[in-house]
Amino acid sequence: MAKVTYIENNGNSHTIEIANGLSVMEGAVQNDIPGIDADCGGGMACATCHVYVKEEWFNKLPKKEDGEEDMLDMSHEPNKFSRLSCQVLISDELDGLTVSIPSKQG
């Protein structure tokens, strides 16, 4: 279980408890957090669950697998803290994780 904070582009913030094993994307979708579309359902095939990970958390996350960086090319305004939230799985270690949602997806 981890508490994850999602910050919308307009500054609204949502903190949610998410069970281990779910992804940061699933946590958002199941709790109706606006701004994470996840069109492909978690298949790393669409880049519409793009988030910016807060700097101090970025290096604590498991590294990107093959293909994630390629998909991030297609995301909206990626930066060096960009991740696809479907690829970040919740574990106890991620308690307190904070991610920001881009102004739009895709």
């Binding site: 069109d39 492909c40 298949g43 095939a45 669409c46 880049a47 960086e69 390629d70 090319d73």
Partner: protein, 338 residues
């Protein structure tokens, strides 16, 4: 006006198998898809990725699955209207009249929406105030490459489309290729070729840059690109091309008066009919309690939706269930010789 029993919107695996299910119960259909090829997400998003959960097919790629489905429906000689997006639907007496963006019109007694997450559209630049140049000097696809002759072109993107066009247009134009990171994700041969052309001075390549702003009065005169380290570089250019792949957009479907839940269409689970009589939704775009977004679920949904279409196509006939193994009628529809 094309008259048919059922219009299917979407030529992905679920739409294709639904053609089969309509065909064996004796209904005719036409298929419309906004992509330039058959196969939907299977062909556009993961043609080479193996799929492991198609029943009785231990492993196949998106492309193989598509080709097998095309083979399975060959006997029905279905017309596919590719590169067309359905814009409007309206009911006239008991028929649905459908119009595409190319002006093709259909009259059918039912419509099956198998549109996945919507139609594929090019991903666009997010830069503000570029609208007046879009489709003029800012383009997301190339229809006539002759317009670029002896011009300067700035191409954005890191995949095969960006690389292939950069290489091809470098023969007749001054080409500047811009990508947000050092690695390109296109085919290695194309990456090597682009680097070779850079060495020969035929292409300029800037990496770790993204589009920042576009300048010009009547038409594009120059652009600014911004490095990861925030430094800005000005580039004089005649055209700006963006190749960022495709994104799925629900598009006009949202305006047809169908109930929507987020980006999906609620249906009943007996026939997968929507809140509109004669309009069905199957595959990723439909929702109901317990919905799984799997291709195999879409096949089931298509089989039931096809039977649901029967009463609209043949109101005076009763649908009779038959097996493909034993029914002579079904076999003759499938073109099986005994």
């Amino acid at each position: 006006m094309i008259k048919t029993d059922t219009l299917i919107i979407g030529a992905g695996p679920v739409g294709l198998f639904c053609v089969h299910q309509l065909g064996i119960i004796g209904l005719k259909c036409e298929v419309v898809d906004n992509l330039d090829k058959i196969g939907g997400q299977c062909i556009e998003l993961y043609p080479d990725k193996p799929i492991y959960d198609i029943p009785a097919v231990p492993e196949c790629t998106g492309e193989e699955l598509t080709n097998n489905l095309i083979e399975q429906i060959k006997a029905f000689k279905t017309n596919f209207h590719l590169n067309e997006r359905v814009e409007e639907i309206k009911k006239v007496e008991k028929k649905w009249i459908t119009k595409t963006n190319k002006g093709t019109k259909f009259e059918s007694s039912s419509i099956i929406i198998a549109a996945g997450v919507g139609s594929f559209e090019p991903r666009k630049f997010s830069t503000k105030e570029i609208d007046k140049f879009v489709e003029k000097q800012i383009l997301y696809s190339i229809k006539d490459k002759k317009i670029f002759k002896d011009k300067t072109i700035c191409i954005f993107g890191g995949g095969d489309s960006a690389l292939d066009w950069a290489i091809e247009l470098s023969n007749t134009s001054k080409v500047i290729l811009v990508h947000r990171r050092d690695d390109f994700r296109g085919m290695q041969a194309s990456i090597d070729k682009a680097n070779q052309l850079k060495e020969e001075g035929k292409i300029e390549i800037y990496t770790r840059y993204q589009l920042d702003s576009v300048h010009g009065k009547e038409k594009v005169e120059s652009i600014n690109i911004k490095h990861d380290d925030k430094t800005i570089k000005e580039i004089k250019t005649d055209y700006v091309l963006g190749f960022f792949g495709l994104i799925m957009q629900l598009g006009p479907i949202a305006e047809w008066g169908l109930n929507l839940d987020k980006k999906t269409i609620p249906v009943n689970t007996e026939s997968f009919e929507t809140n509109k009589e004669g309009i069905f939704a199957i595959g990723d775009i439909c929702s109901y309690p317990g919905k799984l977004k799997l291709i195999l679920s879409g096949f089931h949904e298509g089989a039931l939706a096809a039977r649901g279409c029967f009463k609209y196509a043949k109101p005076n006939e009763k649908y009779r269930f038959e097996f493909t193994t034993s029914s002579k009628t079904v076999k003759s529809r499938l073109g099986v010789k005994e």
